[in-house]
C-alpha cells in the first residue's frame, strides 16, 4: 500500500457488503454502514436513502475519536462500543480492527441484544475483510493531475 493512501478493491467491498447484508437479515436492523476512523464512508447497506451517510460517517468518526480520548482520561485503553438510544431509532457503533467503524441503525422490531450479538460476529468478519491487501496500489491515469487541474479550475471559477 502506498503511504498516505488506503486502497479498497471491488472484491473486498463486495464481500463487506455481503457481510453487512447478512448482519441486517439476522439482527433485523434497518441499515448498516462501514466508515473509516478518518470519517470516509466505505460502504453501506439497507435503508439508507433517507440518511446523509457521508455526514453520518464524519460525525461517527468524530464521536469515536472523542470517546477514545474520554476512555484514556478514565484509564481505559478504549471504549469499543457506543450505543445511542432514540425514541424510534437507535444506533449501535463498534470498532472494526484499528481503522474502521461499524454503525447499525435499528428500531424496536429488534433488540439491542440481538444487534450486539451479530455486530460482534460481523465486526470479527469485517476485520479480516478489511485487512490491507499486500502490495495494493492504485493505478491513477497518467493525465490524472492535468485532469484534476482542469476540473478544479472549472469547479471553483469565481
Amino acid at each position: 500500500m502506498s503511504p498516505g493512501t488506503f486502497v479498497l478493491y471491488q472484491e473486498q467491498v463486495d464481500r463487506i457488503n455481503a457481510a453487512l447484508l447478512r448482519l441486517l437479515k439476522k439482527a433485523e436492523a434497518k441499515c448498516a454502514l462501514l466508515a473509516d476512523q478518518d470519517g470516509h464512508l466505505i460502504t453501506r447497506q439497507g435503508f439508507t436513502q433517507s440518511l446523509d451517510t457521508t455526514a453520518l460517517a464524519a460525525l461517527l468518526a468524530g464521536s469515536f475519536a472523542s470517546t477514545r480520548e474520554i476512555a484514556r482520561l478514565v484509564g481505559e485503553p478504549e471504549f469499543s462500543v457506543l450505543f445511542h438510544q432514540g425514541v424510534r431509532d437507535h444506533i449501535h457503533i463498534c470498532l472494526v480492527g484499528e481503522r474502521y467503524i461499524l454503525a447499525i441503525v435499528f428500531d424496536d422490531r429488534t433488540t439491542i441484544g440481538m444487534v450486539r450479538l451479530y455486530a460482534k460476529e460481523t465486526a470479527d468478519r469485517l476485520k479480516e475483510l478489511t485487512m490491507p491487501v499486500a502490495n495494493a496500489r492504485a493505478d491513477l491515469s497518467a493525465d490524472f493531475t492535468a485532469s484534476a487541474g482542469a476540473q478544479i479550475d472549472s469547479m471553483f471559477n469565481e
Binding site: T5, A55, A58
Partner: protein, 312 residues
C-alpha cells in the same frame, strides 16, 4: 489518509482549515457552501456553541467531479481555534491529507497566528504526521481591514519555507476559491505521486500547471531541482529571509512550543491520564482461581456470622 475505493470508483480526501480563533475558518466553509452548486456539495454541519463558536468541527463534503475515472470528493473540516480546545484540534487532524492555515492579517493578531501555527506543527507531530510531506496552503485573511501586516511580513514570520499562499477576505468571498483551488490541486497531486510509488513532495512549490490559477505573481518562485524545504529554500521564495524566523524554528523543533508563545497551550492529554492508562495496562491481574478462593472464604465467613446471629 486518502481513501481510494475501487468498488465505487471513488477517491476521498480530508482537508482541514486550521488557524487561531476568529480568523475566518468557518467563514471560508460557509462561502464555499453558499457558492458551490447544491448537487456538488453536502450540507454544512457545524458543531458549535450557542455563541456560534466552533466547539468540535465544521464539516462540508464537496464533490469535485470525475477525475481520471474516479469520483473525487473532498471533506472539508475546520478546527476550533480557541486555545483551550487543543485536544479537539488534535483529533480533527487525524488522517488529514491537506491543511489550509487561515491566518488573521491584523497586526494585533500576529502572536495568535504564531501560537496557532506552532500548535498545528506540534499536533501533526503528535499524530505522527510528517509535516514536511503534508500539503499546506497559507491563507492571509482579512486583507480588507485596516491595521494589517504586510504580506512580506506574514510570509517572513509564518511561512519562511515558501509554501503557497493566498490573500483573502473570506467574509466578502475574496480569495476563498483561490485557496480551495490551491489546496485541492496540491492534495491530488500528492495522491498521484504517492500512488505512483514516488516519494512525497519535498518541495513546497507545486508544479506550474497546478498553480496557474489565482494571483501567480504572489506565489513563491519555483525551486530548482533538488531544492527542498530544508536545503536553502528559505531565500528562494517571494520573500528573502536572512535569518530563520520564530516560526521556522518552531516548525523544526528548535524552539519548544511553550517557549515560543507568551501563554501556556494545552497540548493534548494531561500526563496523569497517560500514567494512569499505563498503570492499568501494567497492573497485575488477579487470577480467576485466586478470586474464587477469596469469594468462597467470604461466603463461609458470612454463613458463620449468619448462623451465629440467627441459628441459636
Amino acid at each position: 489518509m486518502v481513501s481510494i475505493n475501487y468498488a465505487f470508483r471513488e477517491i476521498s480526501c480530508k482537508v482541514v482549515y486550521y488557524g487561531p480563533g476568529l480568523s475566518g475558518k468557518t467563514t471560508n466553509l460557509q462561502y464555499v457552501h453558499d457558492r458551490v452548486p447544491a448537487k456538488s456539495r453536502g450540507d454544512l454541519i457545524s458543531l458549535a456553541t450557542e455563541a456560534d463558536r466552533t466547539l468540535y468541527f465544521d464539516f462540508l463534503p464537496i464533490h469535485v467531479g470525475d477525475i481520471g475515472g474516479f469520483s473525487t470528493k473532498f471533506q472539508l473540516y475546520t478546527v476550533p481555534g480557541q486555545v483551550f480546545y487543543n485536544a479537539t484540534r488534535k483529533l480533527v487532524l487525524r488522517g488529514v491529507d491537506g491543511i489550509v492555515f487561515v491566518a488573521d492579517s491584523q497586526t494585533a493578531k500576529m502572536d495568535e497566528n504564531i501560537e496557532s501555527l506552532a500548535n498545528m506543527y506540534e499536533n501533526l507531530r503528535e499524530n505522527d504526521i510528517d509535516q514536511q510531506a503534508m500539503p499546506i496552503v497559507f491563507q492571509y485573511n482579512k486583507r480588507d481591514l485596516p491595521e494589517i501586516s504586510s504580506i512580506e511580513e506574514l510570509e517572513k514570520i509564518l511561512n519562511p519555507e515558501g509554501r503557497p499562499y493566498s490573500e483573502a477576505s473570506a467574509v466578502k468571498g475574496v480569495g476563498v476559491f483561490d485557496t480551495m483551488k490551491r489546496i485541492t490541486k496540491l492534495v491530488l497531486e500528492d495522491t498521484k505521486r504517492r500512488t505512483s510509488g514516488q516519494q512525497p513532495m519535498s518541495s513546497p512549490a507545486p508544479n506550474e500547471m497546478l498553480v496557474s490559477s489565482g494571483p501567480v505573481s504572489q506565489l513563491p518562485k519555483a525551486p530548482t531541482a533538488g531544492d527542498g524545504w530544508n536545503t536553502g529554500r528559505h531565500g528562494a521564495g517571494a520573500v528573502a529571509v536572512e535569518e530563520p524566523s520564530v516560526a521556522s524554528k518552531v516548525a523544526r523543533g528548535q524552539i519548544s512550543e511553550s517557549a515560543s508563545t507568551s501563554g501556556p497551550i494545552e497540548t493534548g492529554l494531561p500526563g496523569r491520564s497517560r500514567q494512569s492508562a499505563g498503570r492499568e495496562t501494567g497492573a497485575p491481574v488477579m487470577s480467576a482461581q485466586k478470586s474464587t478462593r477469596i469469594r468462597r472464604r467470604q461466603r463461609s465467613l458470612f454463613d458463620r456470622l449468619f448462623g451465629w446471629l440467627f441459628g441459636r
